[in-house]
């Protein structure tokens, strides 16, 4: 029987092959400022591989693996700038569905592994619940309001909308083509779209309730923290890739008749990036080791997402510096990775935001 570590290693190896065969930076370049922000054929491949169902329980039709497996996949995929379709749909959306307690849960979850349900969580910036109200209306609800930060929202089949109902926050699974739903988008640093959704008197039935007030806020909070850990893995993958690019460059670029990699001051700068990357890997490992338990999940997410965001930003900055002018061209692939790192480090709370959560949890003076 394969051990958990074997499965993780096997998935990582598969993801490496997907990256090697995939469109890579060239593909990402061609998709800039294009909808939907990911490669539809890659989404098909990932579906065929079953990876959309990694985080869907077996009893719900998925393959029921955990965060370590998904993290291993995303860490590798991000090295080819191919993590995007999984993050909103197979991680955040899927986990919100998993944690739901309402009637909409089972049917939608069952459609996730096949890519038939691409569910995007409707949020406002910085993880805030959106300003949406739900008013009871004969046998169902009417939703009105807007959500300013909906990653994956542009091409979602369903919007998972937390809304303030008279009896508390309820979570609704709203078909994206429902009358009254309007979608727009901003562009993120990596030129992928950030959905913005407005709901005007959108009528939904009781069957579309995904979580009742008993579960809704917890479902969102847990899914967010789980996603933070997977995003941290993506940021680690980006850091590893940028550092590798930099080391290669330091081994070929000459100035003053010497390889720049032989200059001690630059060597120490590169070593500091390596150390940071090792530290980020440790923080991620901590996040993954305790990520299953709801009690320790917030700390796990704070530590993994905070450290990996911080590290990816630093590796990005110093990689540009170590590349010199060439790293500042749009033509060089480094910039694509830098922008992706900036995008993911900001999403769901950057390092500073995670540190604030750490303080709020009472850990700073513990």
């Amino acid at each position: 029987m394969a051990t958990e570590n074997d499965i993780v290693a096997e998935l990582a190896a598969s993801a490496q092959r997907v990256v090697a065969d995939g469109p890579g930076p060239t593909g990402a370049r061609s998709r800039r400022s294009q909808l939907p922000g990911y490669d539809p054929s890659s989404l098909g491949l990932l579906t065929d591989l079953g990876w959309l169902g990694i985080l869907v329980p077996e009893e719900d039709g998925g393959i029921g693996l955990g965060l370590p497996e998904m993290a291993a996949v995303v860490r590798e995929l991000e090295k080819g700038l191919m993590g995007e379709p999984l993050l909103p749909y197979a991680v955040l959306g899927a986990r919100v569905l998993v944690h739901g307690d309402g009637p909409a849960r089972a049917a939608l979850l069952a459609q996730v592994p096949a890519g038939e349900c691409l569910a995007a969580l409707a949020l406002d910036f910085n993880g805030a619940l959106p300003a949406v109200t739900a008013v009871p209306a004969d046998g169902g609800w009417r939703l009105s309001g807007q959500a300013g930060s909906v990653v994956g929202g542009v091409s979602a089949t369903h919007l998972l909308v937390p809304a303030q109902a008279p009896d508390g926050v309820r979570l609704f699974a709203v078909p994206a083509n429902s009358p009254g739903v309007t979608k727009a988008h901003l562009w993120r640093a990596d030129d992928t779209p950030l959905g913005q959704v407005a709901l005007a008197e959108v009528v939904v039935g009781n069957g579309e309730v995904l979580a009742t007030p008993a579960a809704a806020e917890t479902a969102v909070a847990r899914a967010l923290d789980e996603t933070r850990i997977v995003v941290a893995a993506g940021l680690l993958g980006l850091s590893e890739h940028m550092l590798a690019m930099t080391l290669v460059y330091m081994g070929v670029r000459k100035q003053y008749g010497q390889l720049i990699g032989s200059f001690q001051a630059l060597q120490h700068k590169a070593v500091d990036l390596y150390i940071d990357k090792e530290r980020a890997a440790a923080a991620l490992q901590f996040g993954l080791a305790t990520g299953g338990d709801p009690a320790t999940l917030p700390l796990a997410a704070v530590r993994a997402k905070g450290r990996c965001s911080d590290t990816a930003c630093r590796v990005a900055r110093d990689s540009i510096q170590l590349h010199g002018a060439i790293g500042f061209t749009d033509e060089h692939d480094l910039g694509l990775y830098v922008k992706r790192a900036l995008t993911l480090s900001a999403w769901l709370g950057n390092a500073g935001e995670q540190r604030r959560r750490f303080i709020d949890m009472g850990w700073a003076l513990a």
Binding site: F125, G127, L186, R188, A189, L334, N350
Partner: protein, 387 residues
């Protein structure tokens, strides 16, 4: 022509401000740092018409004859007004270099054509293999009769897309050591063999280009400062730019934006953030003070030396750190390209945005010698540490 130097610094500052307010068009204010010639030429001609185009040139050549201190004030007023840069290589570099090293014919021919905007210059120094190590350049110029035949590949040539002339450093003697065999040559770009390929930078600017020189020709009369003497000519020209590189003007603009972002994001009430902003304010204030000290030295007529390396490191690294904290303060909005919406309203920065500011701030730590190269210079030349 007025004697600008006779004015007090303050009076001159106000005169410059008045001129700018009266003549600089709105579309060049607080927009992109670099614009194309088509957008800037009216402003260029207006400066020329009113005698504000060539601050460093002598009055008899149509310049303002500003002393360095006044020249810095003029630059500061440009920065204050947020004016885009114009095609400035002719005015800033070609004019002074010809006045110092050129022949009377070169001066008489080229200077008026710079003022008129007929000749637009760009600088052909950097090469793909010669960045910080400029003396490692490989562009060659061989003499055939009374003509240089030039082959090489220049890069990071600012304004090359609009320019019609380029001054190049080219190797004219390969038998001597690096700096010794280089010449400074004026080249007309309107000829076969000159290919300009724009470079787009990571922050979206299209300011730079590569310039390929394939059997490009220039009369030997276009040599400036003597054969194989180009290194010394080029060094004389890099001085003033390096002082300006140490000015806190970029950091100040970034700080203004950071404070606005902090307010929009509601973090101006977060003592932990305010503490870090305060430190950067103090860093910026000390950068200003250091810059002021150097400006005073220049005002007092003293020459400046390696302290410009210190200032360059302080100014560029302070600027960069400000943009880094700004992204952190912006939170999730710091991960956006383009205009950032905040609860208290959008951040309107003209065509700039947070991402672009952050990326733009990487460049000054690289161009004009990386901050690492400047540390090498200080270690050797100022601290006297062994090689």
């Amino acid at each position: 022509m007025r004697d600008w130097n006779a004015l007090s610094d303050e009076a001159f500052r106000l005169a410059a401000r008045d001129f700018i307010e009266a003549h600089c068009p709105a579309h060049l204010r607080r927009g992109e740092e670099h614009v194309r010639w088509a957008q800037s030429k009216d402003w260029y001609h207006a400066m020329a018409a009113h005698g504000w185009l060539a601050p460093g040139w002598p009055v008899e050549h149509g310049g303002m004859a500003l002393k360095p201190a006044k020249h810095l004030i003029y630059l500061e007023e440009w920065a204050r007004a947020g004016i885009s840069r114009v095609m400035e290589q002719g005015v800033l570099n070609v004019g002074p270099v010809l006045l110092a090293h050129g022949t009377p014919d070169q001066i008489a021919h080229y200077l008026p054509r710079i003022l008129s905007g007929e000749d637009l210059w760009c600088q052909g120094f950097s090469e793909p293999g010669a960045g910080s190590d400029l003396a490692g350049l490989r562009t060659e110029a061989r003499i055939e009769g009374d003509t240089f035949v030039i082959n090489g590949h220049k890069i990071w040539t600012s304004g090359a897309v609009d320019a019609n002339h380029i001054f190049v450093l080219a190797r004219t003697d390969k038998t001597v050591k690096k700096q010794a065999g280089i010449s400074f040559i004026l080249v007309d770009m309107n000829q076969p063999g000159v290919t300009v390929k724009p470079i787009v930078t990571v922050n979206g600017d299209a300011e730079f280009a590569e310039v390929f020189l394939d059997n490009v020709r220039a009369p030997v009369a276009n040599l400036v400062g003597g054969l194989n003497n180009g290194w010394r000519v080029a060094q004389s020209l890099l001085g003033f730019e390096r002082v300006w590189a140490g000015s806190p003007h970029m950091g100040r603009q970034a700080m203004d934006r950071m404070v606005r972002v902090a307010r929009l994001a509601g973090r101006d009430r977060d003592p932990a953030i305010v503490d870090r902003i305060a430190q950067l304010q103090l860093d910026l204030a000390d950068n200003s003070e250091m810059y002021e000290r150097l400006a005073q030295e220049i005002r007092a007529g003293h020459s400046f030396g390696f302290e410009v390396s210190t200032l360059k490191i302080v100014a560029t690294e302070t600027y960069a750190r400000i943009t880094e904290l700004t992204l952190e303060i912006a939170g999730e909005q710091g991960g956006l390209a383009g205009e950032a919406p905040f609860a208290d309203g959008p951040l309107v920065l003209g065509k700039a945005d947070l991402l672009r500011d952050y990326l733009t701030a990487r460049a000054p730590m690289i161009y004009g010698g990386t901050v690492q190269i400047h540390r090498n210079i200080l270690a050797k030349r100022v601290l006297g540490l062994p090689a």
